[in-house]
Symmetry: C2
Subunit: 207 residues, 2 copies
DNA sequence: CCTACCGATCGGTAGG
DNA sequence: CCTACCGATCGGTAGG
């Protein structure tokens, strides 16, 4: 837990993620990162060849960690509701435990221009296609099997994106504590599932 | 419509809002703004005494415009559902017509540190207290009158914040066109309202 | 991981 | 709204 136990490279990742996510990419200087890590600025260039590279690696790591944390739940066993609820819980838990990763992904999606912006957008687009693509398939299958009735799969996917992004944004940038959204997840889930199916939701509290 | 018809001050506001919202505050330079406006950098300081002042005024204008566009709907006549739906439509329309205002508010909420960050957070906190405060009262009153049953007012307020922020974020930062969310608002509203009340929503298409 | 340094650009000012 | 300029800081490199 103590910073002294972490390698310089790990401290560098952590401090860079913290500064980028709270001040933005352009608002963070390499000198400031170095100061927090406790080394001279020039030493950072032993780990990354540029500031752009540093952001790109943090973004890739964040996207990979998010996928690894949430993806398995959707492909698990059980009803559509159980799997989707498990996916949501895994995502919200990830955001509680890794707020900086969520922040980095958001800032990358919104604050970067130029040639770096193009690389960032390519990474995000690839991730979104995989993630939203599998959700769209999920909803289409649920509609086909009759587990969700009277709604269009595209509208369900749209509503799901709104729901999840709304939770994540409020979790990591809002004034309320991030844990609150995890604690109220059964209620939020119930609203979502009833809205989508007309039936009360059953959000199992066990993992 | 043409830039040539706008005053220098108006062009300055527009270009600064565009650059801040696409590159972030720290990623935007006064020289770049000046170049787009078509004047020398020093001339900008006839309108604003600092870069911080420029951002603060853009933020204040954006918050005021948002309030003016959405607030009246909530206090209008009609059922709780009609008023809340009108409030949502006004908000989503505002985001279609003023995406940069929404972007500025989001970036201010997430990307600024230091002394500027404190001023920005004070502005946002005041706005949030007024806005979320009136929503919390709205839901409490709807529960008390029995227009919404079986749900806690605090949970309703939480879900509402998730719903609205999710739409706005996807509208102004997502890959789909912003108009899509306006076009699909009846469906999104139906999901929301049915989730909250168990009854199908009736989203009137007329203003 | 350090010292020492580079050219470029930063926000901002003086004075007109 | 301009020219001319300021000290400070930027990302990055050389060389060890």
């Amino acid at each position: 837990m103590s910073p002294a136990n972490l390698s310089t490279h790990d401290r560098l990742r952590r401090e860079a993620a913290g500064l980028f996510s709270s001040r933005g990419y352009g608002g963070t200087s390499m000198a400031e990162i170095a100061q927090r890590v406790g080394v001279r600025k020039a030493s950072l260039y032993n780990y990354y060849s540029s500031k752009q590279d540093l952001l790109l690696e943090l973004l890739e790591d964040s996207l990979a960690a998010w996928e690894a944390a949430s993806r398995p739940a959707l492909g698990g066993e059980g009803s559509s509701e159980a799997r989707l609820a498990a996916y949501l819980r895994a995502t919200v838990r990830f955001a509680v435990e890794n707020p900086q990763s969520v922040r980095i992904i958001r800032l990358a999606a919104t604050q970067i221009g130029g040639s770096l912006g193009r690389k960032v957008k390519a990474l995000l687009r690839r991730h979104e296609q995989e993630s939203i693509g599998s959700l769209a398939e999920f909803f289409a299958a649920a509609v086909e099997r009759g587990e969700i009735e009277g709604a269009d799969a595209a509208d369900l996917t749209l509503f799901w994106g709104v729901f999840v992004d709304g939770i994540l944004i409020n979790q990591v940038f809002g004034t309320a504590k991030a844990e609150r959204y995890l604690a109220r997840l059964p209620q939020l889930w119930d609203f979502f599932w009833r809205g989508v199916t007309g039936r009360a939701g059953g959000f199992e509290r066990q993992p």
